[in-house]
């Protein structure tokens, strides 16, 4: 997993719980990286799983909520740097539709070692879109947060219905409705 995801995560933890929490997380997890992350590096995905699980333990907040919240923060602070992707699309749906065939493709060019999910979309009507998330990293909750953040960016109100297609969360179907 790209370092930027870890760096962003620590930023948010420090902001919400203080640096002490960051330190505590590093100490209590068994991290190959020793918690030394840089946004240009690449680290094992399991480290993120450990960190989020431990944070949930310490804070009493559920993992899904944490990922969801973190995704919104990540979108606003880190993804917004990729201005052009946002400008190329006109609304939430067209942006989401362009992830798999365009955005993540470009990301892969920039970071060949990035591990990205697969998305497929199905437009049911002008205000209904199905988005199928597939990834063995099982970060559907993170995806949900990013979807909500995208709607924020385009000033649109949406409602998300989420359904696990695979029990373990490696495939999640989102039905997104504009309201």
């Amino acid at each position: 997993m790209k370092g930027v995801v870890f760096v962003g995560f620590f930023e948010l933890v420090e902001k919400e719980f203080g640096y002490e929490m960051v330190d505590k997380l590093i100490d209590s997890c068994n991290l190959d990286s020793d918690g030394i992350y840089t946004s240009v590096g690449t680290y094992d995905h399991s480290e993120m799983v450990q960190l989020v699980t431990k944070l949930s333990e310490f804070s009493g907040i559920g993992v899904p909520d944490l990922l969801n919240t973190y995704a919104k923060y990540f979108g606003k602070t880190h993804l917004r740097k990729y201005e052009s992707f946002y400008q190329e699309a006109t609304d939430t749906f067209s942006f989401l539709e362009s992830i798999d065939g365009h955005i993540h493709v470009e990301v892969k060019k920039l970071y060949p070692e990035a591990e990205l999910p697969k998305f497929s979309t199905n437009k049911l009507s002008d205000n209904k879109l199905e988005l199928l998330y597939s990834s063995k990293r099982k970060m559907g909750d993170f995806a949900e947060g990013l979807i909500l953040d995208t709607a924020d960016y385009y000033n649109e109100k949406i409602e998300i219905q989420k359904k696990n297609i695979e029990e373990d969360g490696s495939q999640v179907l989102f039905t997104i409705t504009k309201i």
Binding site: E20, D23, D34, G35, T38, S39, G41
Partner: protein
Amino acid sequence: MDEVQLLTRKINRLEKARVKAEQILEQKALQLWESKQELEKKVKERTQELEIAKDKAVKAQMAQKNFLANMSHEIRTPLNAIIGMAHLMSDYELNNQQKEYLNTLIHSANILQDLINDILDLSKIDSGKISVVNESFDLIDFLNIIKSIFLPQAKKKGLDFLLKIDSDIQNFVLADKKLLNHVLINLIGNALKFTERGSISLIVELHNRQEDKQYITFKCKDSGIGISKDQQEKIFNKFIQADKSTSRKYGGTGLGLSISKKIIELLGGTLEVASEISQGSTFYFTIPLTLSQEKSIIKTSPKKKKDKITIKQILIAEDNLLNQMYLKNLLNKWKIEYKIAQNGQEAIDLMASSEFDLVLMDIQMPTMDGYQATTQIRNTINNTIPIIALTANSFAEDREKAKQVGFSDFLSKPYNPNQLQELLLKYSR
């Protein structure tokens, strides 16, 4: 854990992260540099490959050109003999059946000759060997001559032939008459070929005048079978005929229009077509013709034409037996004496021992070719005797080379009796 300790740990961690980040960036930079090197190498390789490919293409083109020149030579030599013999044969008493055969023979040989000429023309244009040679002439006269050539042919098919000339056009122009003639003859020839009823018009209009130039539009209009939109785009390509049945029904090679198009481009215009199936076709182009100051045109060689060949002794240098026979027959008929040399060396030997009025010299001969022989004759034996080059090579280059080594004239094979007679008259004193 106190505040200071915590901060130190944070700073430590961030410091390590910074060092790590720098290492990663260094590594990335190195990778980038390496892939740039790789890319440059690839570009170089590709460029080289391209150059090799280009080289090959150029060589292939050269080979093709040489092939054309050689083939034309190979074909012209026997064709020369065929046409020559056929003409000689027509002097004999023949029964009707024989006459018919002979006519077919001559007709077919002429078609073959036209085809070879077309191919050679095209290869000359393609290789830039045709240049525009302007001369001053009367455009209206010129057009009337063209009309007088085609009117009888049109009448024979029951067609009208109309020539319409814009009265604003100034008669005297400076232009390449031969090339213009070539194109108009091709266009009108096609019009005649593809029209069964109605008329053919050659319309010549003043487009505009600019300084010393008049831009003139030539339109060749017919009421014939027409050409579909699809085909209109293709007919200017080499060897293309509008449909496959065309060549069976009307003959032709599909070269005429591509030659004409190239010639018109050479003259500063574009050959275009407007046509409607079964309504007819109009081929048209606009070219600049420079106005000619001199109203009096220098008539080509006003020298009084001689009417009798006064040449008595001819030296023939020719290795091909068929061609020798053809020449012998003609000269016997005209009662001119001759001696035959099999190659350049023999020709030189004969010249040293006998008197001749004129030499007919083949270019390609064994032992010593016509160029070498003529150079030597000019240098050591006789500087003034007319030496006529006989050759199947008809490229401008060959003519140029023949002139340089001292040939007086050039007769390209196959030639008919009249052409040789004309030349002999020209050199009669």
